[in-house]
Amino acid sequence: MERPGYYGGFGGAFIPEILVATLEQLRVAFEQIKNDPSFWKAFQSLMSTYSCRPTPLTYSENLTRHFNGPHFYIKREDLNHTGAHKLNNVIGQGLVVQRMGKSRVIAETGAGQHGVATATMAAKFGFECMIYMGEVDVARQRPNVFWMEQLGATVVTVRDGARTLKDAINEALRDWATNMDTTHYVLGTVCGPHPYPEMVAYFQSIIGSEAREQMLGQVGRLPSRVYACVGGGSNALGIFQGFLGDSEVELVGVEAGGKGLKSGKHASRLASADGSVGVAQGYKTYFLQNDDGQMLETHSVAAGLDYIGVSPILAAYHEQGSIRFEAATNEEVLEATRLTMRKEGIIPALESAHALACVFREAPQMSADDVILINLSGRGDKDIFTIADALGDESWKRFITTKAEAYSA
């Protein structure tokens, strides 16, 4: 049997000695809640009264018609409080923090969704909160920075390295190595040292168990395929866990193809040939790195997918062949965003639109009887600047210019 925290040779806990005792404390606390039947009930109850769980399963009639079948169903994590699946994990960890008796939480964020979720949880539970965010992401996800600050969090701009998600994680780890007595690190995805991948996957499994029940109840069958975008992998593992035992269901994870897999400017660790096994940020997995083991700069229009590593759990499923990994380019993603807005009246986050883009590419080859389930991990309001730029929206530009003039007057 593999050691705890290992998945097909991936995972582990490659951490400085100073953090060993703290991760052990977290492991024990997580073990306790997992074995406490009242915990999941309390979690579910909070998620159904503070947030909108279960999130709906929407039949997307217009997209179905547009592609002449297959049938499209969308799991609406965009309707979760704070606008993404991130809150599931954050509320779960918040309850663990209460049990551990800590008073301060820190987190990394890329898209800002995990940061907003953490700031929200901190406000509700009465914790002090500090969010680390790369300078590149601060600039492209500015609305979320505003909300984090309004929610009472301190947002620290990280100017080291590539100034994106990985650098925010490094900074959060450094803070934690100093302040672990009072502080819990709310890691936002199924990466990092044990027990994070297992713990985050556990909280996010709420998506998959709801979705499975909804498919059977609402549609009367399991989907032929399930699609989800993959940054670190938490929304994907969240929904996939509902279907991993069903051999007739194909699971498809969609990574950031950026400017194309041949361009070198992407964040596809599994779908491209550029990823290789390494150890960084506390765990072993596929990373985008050079021959020396130095991490490469990644690229994606979606800040939340713009990351060097991927969940060790997904890396294991990738090697087993039980999950298929694909990539969607920035261009395909913007097109998919536009189509989904116009056809369904849903504004997807750019991250989530990667799953849609891959579905739109593959749907024409599928049969009209097939049923597709898509995890819409978040809503796109946060991407208003990026999308407006990409679409070259003239009236938006005029508005911003006027606004800027008013501020500088």
Partner: protein, 253 residues
């Protein structure tokens, strides 16, 4: 053997000094000059840090030096060549300090074989606890290089005893929580921590994190065998250059 070297040196002085240099910072030639100035100033051991893009145990000063060296195109090959050059030129003990991915990507056996060929005597890799380090430890042992482990104030007594079983050369004790580069207030709590370390090992103890003045070294004299000076020397280098860094070490005795 590294331990013998340390014991030998201790016959001549009460406490040894271990310096830390980021290879390739500010550039390869300047870091060679820096090594020279520091050796001449009388240090006994030196960590040569092979830069890594994600140095999670390092604070801003060393982090920026890592990034700057990598941005200038430094490769791991260059670091091995550099190590060879300094061990041929200077007669003190040199160790590699880096992160596990650098060892892993090169191949553990190759890494240690090449380190041995470069006459490196030990490795300090903060993100490889022994639980994850079976093959790392085997490769180090096969090539007769001491894998140095870190003992921290948060390490439980049981775990100190566990780590002690993997010790070679010396143990690197960190004076406080946190990362490199921050201030440390040396206090009696330290005695208690060092007492816990002594209980589990006969090996020499080095103490690092925040050692920055002669007073700190004097305070540690008689408490540990080695004082480790890292970020402060780099600050001196950044503000006043190579010669000043040499004088800084001379002033620590």
């Amino acid at each position: 053997m590294l331990e013998d070297y340390i014991r030998q040196r201790l016959k001549e002085r009460g406490i040894l000094l271990m310096a830390h240099v980021v290879v390739g910072y500010p550039d390869l030639e300047a870091s060679f000059e820096l090594v020279k100035a520091i050796v001449v100033a009388g240090v006994d051991l030196m960590e040569l840090q092979i830069p890594f893009s994600e140095p999670i145990a390092d604070g801003p000063v060393i982090l920026k030096a890592n990034q700057s060296a990598l941005a200038a195109g430094l490769r791991v090959d260059d670091c091995f060549k550099f190590a060879h050059r300094v061990t041929q030129s200077f007669d003190i003990a040199f160790l590699f300090m880096t992160y596990y991915n650098i060892v892993f990507k090169r191949g553990e056996d190759r890494f240690f074989a090449e380190a041995k060929a470069a006459e490196i005597r030990g490795t300090i890799v903060p993100d490889i606890p022994p639980e994850e380090g079976e093959s790392y430890l085997a490769a180090a042992a096969a090539h007769g290089i001491a894998p140095i482990f870190i003992l921290s104030p948060t390490t439980t007594p049981d775990r100190l005893a566990y780590l002690a079983g993997f010790g070679r050369g010396f143990f690197y004790c960190v004076a406080r929580k946190g990362i490199t580069g921050a201030k440390t207030t040396f206090s009696s709590e330290l005695d208690e921590f060092l007492g816990r370390c002594r209980k589990v090992t006969q090996l020499p103890l080095a103490l690092g994190f925040g050692v920055s003045r002669k007073e700190d070294v004097d305070f540690l004299n008689g408490k540990v065998e080695i004082a480790v000076v890292g970020s402060q020397a780099l600050r001196v280098l950044n503000s006043s250059g190579v010669e000043a860094a040499g004088s800084f070490f001379r002033g620590l005795r």
